[in-house]
């Protein structure tokens, strides 16, 4: 557990991915010896296999070549001072929310704010000791889920993160925000935070995970969030990604939704050079309901790759996925939406839609719906559209005196904001509308610097 100060070895003819081996050896491992075998095995698997190439079916639009030989430094011991509310529109919009703040990968108690009643947040290293029985089950993912390069890295580099427990029957009186800030000039940094959320029976909660990057370095965020929604729980889980334009952001969400529980995942992805946002939802109890509302906004050469996998494992469960892309410049976006209806999952109702707005003739978008249906008497549908701004609507707005740039913004916002229309009215939705307007303005406002 010796941190930081060891200088990087001089570059020598090295084994492939040697930078990753070095980083692993220097990693501050959690004080949980029972995890060592799991972590080491994950690392060996990763070193042997590396990152998938765009030839892998699931990774067609994700080029990770630059990460193979990347050399990331250690996380700084003393985080830089930072005014979190000033830089994060989520916190600006929710000034009184309970919050847990990470700065450059480290939990920052001083910046965190009191939590609402009914929720307990435990730093992961403590939880590995105090809540071992729960975490052991969650961290030992089944082999098919381990076989994901970023799950392997996340397991190998376990350390930072939190366990969030919403008490059974509790209704949180406001959203809880987990904020992850990257400051400027800390050198290339790979972060692998793990968030585990246990929503107790019949609890009600809204949880934000907000990612803000202030620099433009070649960083990696590899975030893995695991959610369990107990019977009757209602959980809204919102990810807002506004990383720096040099960052690769991989955000994996795995949710297990039990009987009569409702899980609503929202993704707003604005930043990063490459954002890969995955959402895996398993509906494991009758009456379980899952929604995904996602928006990504791209310009320049940036890329976004959204992947969802919804598994209907029992009868009488429902799922809705609505994914929207706004693409400018020479950006590229892709949505792969998989719905699996297991044998016997009768009366499944699963819908999926993907709608994209291209603001530039050089932008490209792909939609890949994948329905795998092994049961009878189910309803499954998908639809995809790609369009441009409506010239008639644009003229109508301009004919009333609204400048062309503002008219475009109004129309783009109208298209994008629809992803929030399925959220209940309230503080969280109001906040997200502000975040969305700001993010759109920043990412694609016509007057921005190139």
């Amino acid at each position: 557990m010796s941190p930081a100060a060891v200088p990087a070895p001089a570059p020598a003819p090295a084994a492939p991915r040697s930078g990753w081996r070095t980083a692993f050896e220097r990693h501050e491992a959690p004080r949980a010896p029972w995890l060592d075998g799991l972590r080491r095995a994950a690392m060996e698997h990763f070193l042997a296999e590396g990152f998938p190439t765009p030839r892998h079916e699931d990774w067609l639009s994700t080029s990770l070549a630059a990460l193979e030989e990347a050399r990331f430094g250690p996380t700084p011991l003393a985080p830089a001072p930072v005014g979190c509310a000033a830089i994060d529109p989520v916190l600006r919009a929710l000034p009184r929310s309970g919050r847990v703040v990470f700065v450059d990968g480290r939990l920052h108690e001083g910046l965190s704010a009191p939590l609402p009643d009914g929720v307990r947040v435990t730093p992961l290293d403590q939880a590995l000791a105090s809540r071992r029985e729960v975490l052991e089950r969650l961290l030992m993912l089944p082999p098919e889920e381990q076989a994901h390069p970023f799950v392997r890295l996340g397991t190998a580099f376990l350390g930072q993160g939190v366990l969030v427990e919403v008490a059974p029957g509790a209704t949180l009186d406001g959203p809880l925000v987990l904020q992850h800030v990257r400051t400027k000039d800390v050198g290339p940094l790979a972060l692998h935070p793990r968030t585990v959320v246990l929503a107790g029976e019949r609890s009600r909660a809204t949880l934000f995970e907000s990612w803000v990057g202030l620099g433009s370095g070649h960083d990696l965020t590899n975030a893995l969030t695991q959610v369990e929604a107990a019977p009757g729980a209602r959980l809204e889980h919102v990810r807002v990604q506004r990383e720096g334009y040099g960052t690769v952001h991989v955000g994996l969400l795995k949710a297990r939704v039990e009987r009569d529980a409702a899980f609503h995942a929202v993704v707003l992805s604005f930043g990063a050079a490459l954002a890969r946002m995955e959402t895996d939802i398993a509906l494991v109890g009758p009456g379980a309901d899952a929604s995904l509302d996602a928006l990504y906004v791209l310009d320049g050469e940036r890329r976004a790759d959204l992947v969802s996998r919804v598994a209907h494992l029992v009868p009488h469960a429902t799922s809705r996925q609505r994914v929207k892309g706004v693409l400018d410049g020479a950006s590229r976006g892709a949505f792969t939406g998989r719905v699996r209806v297991a044998p016997g999952a009768l009366k499944t109702d699963a819908r999926q839609g993907s709608h994209n707005l291209l603001l530039s003739p050089r932008a490209l978008v792909e939609s890949r719906p994948q329905l795998e249906i092994d049961a009878d008497d189910v309803k499954c549908s998908h639809g995809a559209t790609v369009g441009r701004l409506d010239a008639t609507a644009l003229f109508y707005l301009r004919s009333r005196g609204i400048a062309e740039a503002q008219a475009r913004q109004l129309l783009v916002h109208a298209f994008a904001a629809e992803v929030l229309s399925h959220l209940p009215e309230g503080a969280a939705r109001g906040a997200l509308d502000q975040v969305l307007a700001g993010g759109l303005h920043e990412a694609i406002s016509p007057g921005r610097a190139p």
């Binding site: 003229f395 707005l397 004919s399 009333r400 005196g401």
Partner: protein
């Protein structure tokens, strides 16, 4: 002179539509433009408003001393021009009040006036809507024209006109799709704007609108130019006799005469 159109020629998809149209509209005047289908009435409206795809190939349009054709559509609006669309556009996701306030403030900013805040705007819009028998839902809860009936859309056009207070309003078949009650409401809204200074160009197929919005001058457009000009009586004459007098000079002289369908083609 408020609006001065000289020998205007315009084409759409390479097809000449306006072929030397000349028209002067002075402050406070209401000009009606009638004419058979295909004569260029809507093209004139779109050329004045600056719509893409309506290409001016000759002539000039001066508006309060400025070259109107050199201005972008939003600049024309800020200079006091308003087009009431024949088919108002539905814009899902943009709240009607938000839209109209953005338009009003863009125009006020252009004139060097302070922007209107949301509360003052609502008070103003409510007052303007009352005469049109539109309630708050159309402002606060509905998106721009989305799901509006034909009559509601036309009222919304006149509401915009009343809030923006244009110096020149071009009404492109504002009567189409309206029953007689809605037509009265819309005409009342337009007439309330007549103050001896604001001017109007009213494009219509039907005399019945001109019973309610009484014009000073009536023109017959045929083959892309003004074929006849007269007083209010000309509209009454057309009602009786149709456009047969245009003979071979009218591009669509054989088109059915509008007044043969007194209910209006789009009456709901």
């Amino acid at each position: 002179m408020t609006l001065s159109i000289r020998d205007l020629e315009a084409q759409v998809d390479g097809k000449p539509i306006l072929r030397g149209l000349t028209l002067d509209v002075r402050p406070g005047e209401v000009h009606a433009i009638m004419g058979p289908n295909g004569s260029g009435k809507s093209t004139l409206a779109y050329v004045l408003a600056g719509r893409d795809g309506y290409e001016v190939t000759g002539g000039s349009v001066a508006w309060q001393g400025k070259d109107l054709l050199a201005l972008a559509p939003e600049e024309r609006a800020r200079e006091g021009l308003f087009l009431a669309f024949q088919y108002p556009v539905e814009i899902p996701g943009i709240n009607n009040a938000t839209f109209l306030r953005a338009a009003l403030n863009a125009q006020r900013k252009h004139r060097g006036e302070a922007e209107v805040d949301a509360m003052d705007f609502m008070a103003l819009a409510r007052e303007k809507a009352r005469l049109l028998e539109m309630d708050d839902r159309f402002l606060l809860q509905r998106n721009v024209n989305e799901g509006f009936s034909g009559g509601e859309k036309k009222r919304n056009e006149v509401l915009q006109m009343r809030v923006l207070q244009p110096r020149l309003s071009v009404l492109d078949e504002t009567d189409s799709g309206l029953d007689i009650d809605a037509l009265r409401v819309v005409a009342r809204g337009v007439n309330a704007l007549r103050d001896g200074v604001r001017s109007f160009v009213v494009i219509t197929h039907y005399q019945r609108l001109l019973d309610l919005i009484v014009p000073d001058v009536v023109h017959v457009l045929a083959g892309g130019r003004i074929a006849r000009t007269g007083g209010r009586d000309l509209a009454l004459e057309l009602e009786k006799q149709g456009y047969a007098f245009l003979g071979a000079t009218g591009a669509a002289a054989t088109a059915p005469v509008a007044s043969a369908r007194p209910g209006g083609s789009g009456a709901r």
